[in-house]
């Protein structure tokens, strides 16, 4: 078990002012079987109104808008969490996670990869770990060759990709093998961008695997949102008026709180 301190900041800069800006942000971590959010503070600027709602997948969502012209928009979420990894989360299975979704639709490239993988073996978890290892071997990591619109099948055509692509391909393969799987957005220890991984249904609960790193998700990860694929749990979605070019900057920092640097001075042992 780890105590983690996290900061997640997103800033949009527009080349010209934009207005009538509507947004939906899934940037709020919540308690799951594996993480307990101890402290949480957030700010969104600029905004005329801000509401916290829940979507159909169970994620927390900030929705609101800013009507007046503005050249920057952003949010910051910080907090601390107590995280346990490599453990099943008890949560009933929704049948939608068994079936192909837009980004995980089956195709000839997936079919080929699946043939190479051969027959499914063992339990859901054992098979998922085997698929993850196989994918990690056969699909090199390369930033910049795929984008947020790339589907699992397309990523395989390109032959390399990033965490989003690893997750989509793994989900497509697993669902095809009868293993329910879902897409997870979140943060990982260290500094960088947000990360994506996979949760599989073992038969009793959900278990998280990180195919980009070929790792079981341990207590260095914080989950933000989940869905059938990327499209269901986009972290920030916006629509505005104005003829501007936008530049996005994402900053994520997650660190372990050592006993002596624990903000609240609690004894962690």
């Amino acid at each position: 078990m780890n105590r983690l301190k996290f900061v997640y900041r997103m800033t949009l800069s527009f080349s010209k002012p934009v207005w009538e800006h509507y947004f939906a942000l899934r940037c709020l971590p919540q308690d799951t079987g594996n993480q307990k959010i101890l402290t949480l503070s957030s700010s969104v600027t600029p905004t005329d109104c801000l509401d916290e709602v829940r979507d159909g997948f169970g994620n927390k969502k900030y929705v609101g808008h800013c009507r007046e012209p503005h050249e920057t928009f952003g949010y910051e979420v910080r907090g601390t969490a107590e995280v346990t990894g490599m453990r099943q989360m008890e949560e009933p299975l929704h049948p939608m996670y068994r079936y192909p979704s837009d980004y995980t639709r089956w195709g000839t490239e997936l079919e080929q990869l699946s043939m190479q993988l051969g027959e499914r073996e063992g339990t859901n978890l054992a098979e998922a770990v085997r698929v993850m290892g196989f994918l990690y071997e056969h699909f090199p990591y390369a930033p910049g060759v795929t984008d947020i619109h790339t589907t699992a099948e397309e990523a395989l055509c390109i032959g390399k990709g990033v965490c989003q692509d690893y997750a989509h391909i793994m989900i497509a393969l697993l669902r095809h093998r009868g293993i329910p799987a879902r897409y997870v957005n979140g943060m990982m220890i260290g500094e960088g961008a947000t990360h994506a991984w996979v949760e599989i249904y073992t038969g009793e609960g959900w278990y998280a695997l990180d195919p980009t790193n070929n790792l079981h998700v341990d207590d260095y990860y914080i989950k933000l949102a989940h869905g059938r694929d990327y499209k269901d749990c986009v972290l920030d979605k916006g629509r505005f008026l104005g003829d501007a070019v936008q530049r996005q900057e994402v900053f994520v920092h997650v660190e372990r709180i050592e006993k002596d640097s624990d903000e609240r001075g609690n004894n962690l042992l």
Binding site: C49, V53, G56, H65, R98
Partner: protein
Amino acid sequence: MRELIDHTEGINRLLARYGVKFGLYKNGTFHEQLFPFDAIPRVISHEQFLYLEKGLIQRVNALNLFLEDIYGEKKIIKDGVVPEEFVFSSSGYLPECEGMTPPKKIHSHISGIDLVLGKDGEWYILEDNLRIPSGASYPMIAREICRQASPETFRNNPIVDNRNYAKMLKEVMAYVNTGGVPVIMTPGRYNAAYFEHSYLAERTDSELAMCTDLFVEDNYLYFRDYRGKKQQVGVIYRRISDEYLDPMTFLPESLIGVPGIMDVYRSGHVAIVNAPGNGVADDKGLYYFVPKMVKYYLGEEPVLKNAPTYLPFYEEDRKYVLDNLEKLVVKDVAEAGGYGVIFGNELSREKLAEMKHLIEKESRRFIAQEVIDFQDMNIMEGDEPVPRKADLRAFVLSGEETKVWASGLTRFSRNPDSFVVNSSQGGGFKDTWVLSR
């Protein structure tokens, strides 16, 4: 009735003046075409209407219960009555509606149920339309003009007045209203049913709003009227499909829709007529299961029959379909409006083999039905009555009670060899008379 037929040309001219048109997208461009009216009405006897009414109310009630169940407890799946893949891999299923109940638990407020009368004298349900069934205003306005053309026809025959549709709709909207003004939302005039949107707004005392007249603030929906005054909206009869409803939830690149409306709806702050997510119940694949839903939810025998339907998904049915394809009609479950309907008897030998292969490969994608030999109805072609295929869209409204509108849209095919009567495939329409005794 003779008088009406003599007035056909004049009635059609008036309909054109009123703007009774049907818009179509063909090969990427928008065409507006007249929806030709034929003066010979479909006449439904009083007894027959009582029978239809009973069956339609039962069917729509079961469909509403199904929708409530699917987005809630999912009992029908747990009990093995409907296989889950038909529900959760349907493009009409919206996870964004999971775990929520619309105001007054009504999902399908306006249901357009398409039926045909077989040569055997039986009515068969062809499909259920629970998303945004259009067409009610065509017979409404045609009746008005017919009444002007020949008032004596309506004085001398016991025809139930159909001018109450807007009143029925208004009652439904008032019943589910969460507190605010009623609004009818249209994507604008380049829409197949724009004529109807404006007509209904006028008749239901609702505001006719374009998407840009509506906005969300603090998780409530507001309408800005022409003076710039802002009013809270309690019920919205939207005439745009689910995927365009909210760019923040569905298609972000969509220019129509109201950003944030889904969150307002999920929070229970507005009623949407019809509710989003209904597509899962009128999916052509789910159609097969509707009689089972009637038994499951209501414990009753279904009054109205489905056309005999086979699901290639089930091995036994698949075998039958592959052996008898040349006499069946195959429907692609993902397509609507008469698109994706294939008649086995019209396929060449190669196409037949191709179709069989496709059915084997993608068995979940298709349903197959016996071709129902339905009764012809006469239409006037010049001075000659000629027989044509026709169907009936009945409108069922669900508010405090479920009611069937004593009229309906009778559509006919102008092509003597065609069984497809959808208005998007270039047919015409007739008035539908329900007799009061």
